[in-house]
Each structure stands twice: as structure tokens, then as C-alpha cells.
């Protein structure tokens, strides 16, 4: 039963030739733009700082991936736009900070923060979102209200000073390859993101759970009719998204200090990631996170004054040319 379901659900419809042709155009166009940007960037900086910024961008993108993947999973399945995701991130980071302070154990802090935020997610879904299930816009507005509450309470509990989370000793300091040195912690973050991405892809594509989730994305009623407790799946996915956000909070706080207002910043970056990549698409979250991370990192190096604004241009371009995002599906 399990295998037939997995098989039946994993059959994808073949893309039509016209869309293929179109995709080819997009690919060529974006490669050209990419080449141009790389050329322009290399003109204005040395090769060494190019690699430095690339790694900076990838490590920031890694944090964004944790945030955006949970966000996009929740949206894909439940059609809930959880704008409290930035708040989840911030609370996770602060819980991690406290736990590191008490125990000195980074791994424990990661676990505690992720689980703590998972509980917040559970309460959010069961208590706040359940009564207005299916009303898309009220759901979004409610999560905004929740963001204000979470952010302000964090400020009350942890104060407004920028707070770095200390990372374990073996991740401190730079890693040297020849005469090129780069912070170990950031490399660790990139590695983490790769591992998490692989796990997520595996779960989504290869397991029964992933099949149920993918089926739920396409047709919730039929999945429920097949005898699957879709409500439990909803709660589970929401909790998992919150788990990832809490995890991201601690991981990110290792090199982006925690401070009030960061919930909104992370939310903004996360939104741009999913708008670029395509809402509800896991590969889209990967692509979007890499793009946004790189754009932000290079923009900060080349035009620091416009660092936020540089997100605007690619977003505008995508929205005008391809509103569903690079890898998104037309609804």
C-alpha cells in the first residue's frame, strides 16, 4: 500500500515543449546576466575578496535556506503564510543564547531552541490558527500580530543589546588553505545547510511522509479521503517549519548577532527568497537562498548604502517577468 501510494503520487506530468523552450530562454538569459554580473564584480574587486564575498553570501544564504524552507513547506501544504517565521527565528536565537549561557553546550542550545520554537509552533497552529483555518488573509494577519508579540516579549526578556551566541571552540577561528583564511564557523553553517537540504529532499522525494505531503499540496481533500489524518500532517508540518526556524535562529546567531528588529529583517530576506525561488517549492528555496545570500553579500561590499535596495531590483524583475518565481508553479 505504502509503495503504490508513493509511486502513484511521484509520477509527474511531462513538461510541454513550449514551456521547455521558454525555460531554455530563461536559462540562457539568466546565464548571460550572471556572467555579466560576475564580470562586473570581478572588475571592482580582487579575486580573493571575490571568494570571500562568495562564501559570506553562501553562509548567509544557508541561514536563509533554513528559514525559507520551513516557510515554503508550510505554505506549500497548508496555504498558510506564516509571517511569524521571523519571530520564530528570533525567539530560537535567544533561547539558544540562554542555553549556551547556562550550560556552555552549543549542540544542546541548538536542540533546545529548535524544540522550544517547535512548541511555540504547535501552540500557534492549534490554538491561534485552527479557528480560522482556510481564511487565508486573516491567517496572515494573525501571524503578523504574533510577530509583534514575540518580538516585543523577546525584547522584554533578553533586552535590546546586540547579543552574539558563542560558538564551540573547534569552530572558532579561521580555516587556512594556503594563504586563504576563512572563518570555520561559516563553513560549518554552509555544510549544515547542505546536509539539511539533502535530508529534506530525501524526505520529500523518497519517503511515504514526503509523498503524503506532496499529495497534500496538490489535493488535500483526496488525501484525507484516502484515510490519512491530514490535520495531524498539517500540525506536524507546521511544527517542523517552526523547528527549522528555531534551528536557524541559533545557527544564524553564531555569526549574525541577535538584536531586536532582526525578526523583521530575516522575514524580509526569507520572503524575497521565496518570491524569487517560487512559493511552495523546496528547490526554489535553495535557489532563492543562494541568490539572495550572494546578492546581499556582494552588494554590501560594492554599494553598502544600497544593500537593502539591491534586493529590490531582482525581485521587481522576477515579479514582472515571472510572477510565480523561478521554480514556482502557476496556480
Amino acid at each position: 500500500m505504502a509503495d503504490t501510494l508513493t509511486e502513484a503520487l511521484s509520477q509527474e506530468t511531462a513538461p510541454q515543449t513550449q514551456t521547455l523552450k521558454r525555460r531554455l530562454w530563461y536559462l540562457t538569459g539568466s546565464l548571460l546576466v550572471l556572467a555579466l554580473v560576475v564580470w562586473w564584480v570581478l572588475q571592482s574587486m580582487s579575486l580573493r575578496s571575490f571568494w570571500l564575498q562568495t562564501l559570506n553570501g553562501l553562509s548567509f544564504g544557508a541561514v536563509l535556506f533554513f528559514v525559507a524552507s520551513g516557510f515554503t513547506l508550510i505554505f506549500g501544504l497548508m496555504r498558510i503564510t506564516n509571517l511569524a517565521h521571523g519571530g520564530f527565528y528570533l525567539v530560537g536565537g535567544y533561547i539558544g543564547f540562554s542555553v549556551v549561557g547556562w550550560t556552555g553546550n552549543f549542540a544542546l542550545a541548538l536542540l533546545a531552541a529548535a524544540l522550544g520554537v517547535t512548541v511555540v509552533g504547535l501552540l500557534t497552529e492549534r490554538v491561534l490558527l485552527r479557528p480560522i483555518r482556510g481564511l487565508e488573509k486573516p491567517e496572515v494577519l494573525l501571524t503578523i500580530g504574533l510577530t509583534f508579540v514575540l518580538g516585543d516579549l523577546s525584547l522584554a526578556v533578553w533586552g535590546g543589546d546586540p547579543t552574539p551566541v558563542p560558538v564551540p571552540a573547534f569552530l572558532q577561528g579561521p580555516l587556512r588553505i594556503g594563504d586563504f583564511a576563512y572563518p570555520r564557523y561559516r563553513l560549518f553553517v554552509i555544510a549544515c545547510a547542505v546536509v539539511v537540504a539533502v535530508i529534506l529532499f530525501y524526505i520529500e522525494r523518497r519517503t511515504r511522509l514526503g509523498a503524503i505531503v506532496r499529495a497534500g499540496v496538490d489535493d488535500r481533500e483526496t488525501v484525507a479521503a484516502l484515510g490519512i489524518n491530514i490535520k495531524a500532517v498539517f500540525t506536524g508540518v507546521f511544527m517542523f517549519g517552526a523547528f527549522l526556524a528555531g534551528f536557524a535562529g541559533v545557527i544564524g546567531a553564531g555569526f549574525l548577532t541577535l538584536l531586536p528588529g532582526q525578526d523583521f529583517e530575516i522575514l524580509l530576506f526569507g520572503l524575497v527568497v521565496v518570491i524569487l525561488g517560487g512559493l511552495g517549492s523546496l528547490p526554489g528555496a535553495v535557489l532563492g537562498a543562494i541568490l539572495v545570500g550572494l546578492i546581499d553579500s556582494f552588494a554590501k561590499a560594492v554599494v553598502p548604502e544600497l544593500s537593502f535596495f539591491t534586493l529590490f531590483a531582482p525581485m521587481a524583475l522576477i515579479l514582472v517577468l515571472r510572477p510565480q518565481g523561478l521554480l514556482g508553479r502557476v496556480e
Partner: protein, 342 residues
Amino acid sequence: MKRVSITARVQLVLLAAGIAFAVVAPYIFNSFIVGLLSLALISGLFAMSVDLLSGYAGLVTLGQAGITAAAAYGVGYMANKVGAGIPAQLLVGLAAGMVASAIFAVMAMRSGGVYFMMITLAQGMIVWGLSIRLYKITGAENGLTGIDRPSFLSEYWQYYWFVLAVVLVCSLMLVIAVRSPFGAAVKGLRESESRMRMLGYNPALQKFYVFMVAGFFASVGGILLVFLNGFISPSAATLAASAMGVLQAILGGIGTLIGPMIGAFIIVGIQNIVSTYLERWPTLMGVIFIVVVLFARKGIVGAISIGWRRWLERREQAASDDSAVDPGDLPDELALESSEPR
């Protein structure tokens, strides 16, 4: 006799009482309260512009404060950095707001629903990011100061009456707009985009128009605000500022014009009373947000309308009159609730 719908009657009564009160307010209250009333009126205009998009067109915007801030920064830049006169300040302020609206509108016009919310949120926050980073133009965290009102408006009560007049004129324009064919097309966007397309409308273009109209009123609000405070800082463009407009609109009654104004007075009042005793205003605002979304999505105007209708029904039942009160003047499914098939 032409039947006037109950929602409209509620609005009329509230409106008449409100205007009478507003005109005499400076004779009754001290400068602090009158300043607060000016702020509430401006917030109300802002909330109406939010509601034109969110309630009438069904496009809930979370970035409207970005437009307000753009207009305010336009004024501030001309006053503080260039040292230009009032006409130039007004012109540049309005132009900045309209340019921001046009860019936002082009980006968002092909989307709808939650996607529209996400895009506008990002747009508003990018204005905020710019206002923090573009030190040379915006003065970063310090903002821009030294924005003086023209001499004939320098007294607080003079400016209050000026704000009242501008807001009334703008409200009248909005009333005319939502009752015009344009307004009908805007409501059509909310009800069914596919039907609008079938009738020969271009929904994206309609969205662009309504976004520009809302942007105009948001810009006027921004200009009024910057002259009220005499300064502008990045906090004007935060998500909290945008969300406040949405909260005010829903609390008062989304899809009406008087509702957002009532909501604005209530929220501005609560904020200023609470802030003197309590530090945790954002928490309270968040809680109000959650409570309103969970339990009071029809808002105050909606609640009063329902109460009034029940009262009328009971009275007519008592008189055993057969003629029913006109049904269905209050939409059961509010614009906030998705009407698309799920």
C-alpha cells in the same frame, strides 16, 4: 421612499456626530489632545487608503507605510537638505509618494491574495531599509528634522483645522471614487477576477489604478504627518506602521470608509494612553491584532450594523409587519475572507 441600507445609515449617523465633534474640538481640549486628534485624523486617512486596497479591492497591503514614508521623506529632503520653499516641498513629497506607488503597483499588479501581501510587505520594508542606509538623503536613524509649517498654520489648532479640512476633502473624494464605475470595478476585483476579465476589464490594470489612487491618499497622509511632527524618521516606514493601518481598518470595519477612521481614533487613543503607563505597546498591539482577527473581523461598523438590523427586525416583528428589512446589505463573506475556490 428609497431604502437606505443599514450599513450606510450607520455610517451616516456616525459621520455626522464625528464631524460635529471634530469641528468644535479645539475649543474643548488642550493642545496635547488636539495634537493627538490631528494624528488620529491623519492615521484615519492612511487607514482609508489601506482599506481602499484591502477592503474594496480585496488586496490586503502590508507596505502602505512605505509610500507614506516616501512622500514624507520627499518633503523632509527638500526642507532639510535643499532648503526649498513649501511649494517645492509639497511637489517633491507628492512626486516621491506617487513614484513609489507606481513602482510598487507595477511589481504587485499581477498578483493577488497572500502573494500580494508578501510583495507589499517586502516593498514597505525595503523603503525602511533605504531610509536607514541612505544616510545622505534620509539622515539614517536620526531622520530629518527642521520641517516647518507655513506661518499661517504654525499654531497647533490652525494646523488641526487644516488637517481636518484636507482629510474631509480626501474622504469625500474617496466616497465619490468608491461609488463611481471605477469603484464598482474595484469591488469587482475583490469578488471575482475571472468574471472581471470576462467583462472586458484588465484586472492587472485595474489593480494598478486602485493602487495609484490609494497611493495618492497615503502620500497626502505622509505629507500631513511630516508637517505635524516636524520630522521624519525610519520608524514611519516599518512593518508596524503598515500593519497598524490594516489593524485600524479591520477594527473599524473593513470595506467601509468610516470604519478605518473610527479604528484609527481608537488605536491612536489606546496607544497614547497605554504608552504613558506601559512600555509594552507592541505586545498589546499584537494581542489586539490577534483578537480582532480571531473574533471581530467585521469590525465596529459591522457589529453596529448587525445590532441595528436585529433591533429593526424585532421591532417589525412586534408590529407584525410583513415587509422584511432589506436583507443582504451586509456581505456575509467579508472581503477579508478569500472568495476564491479552495
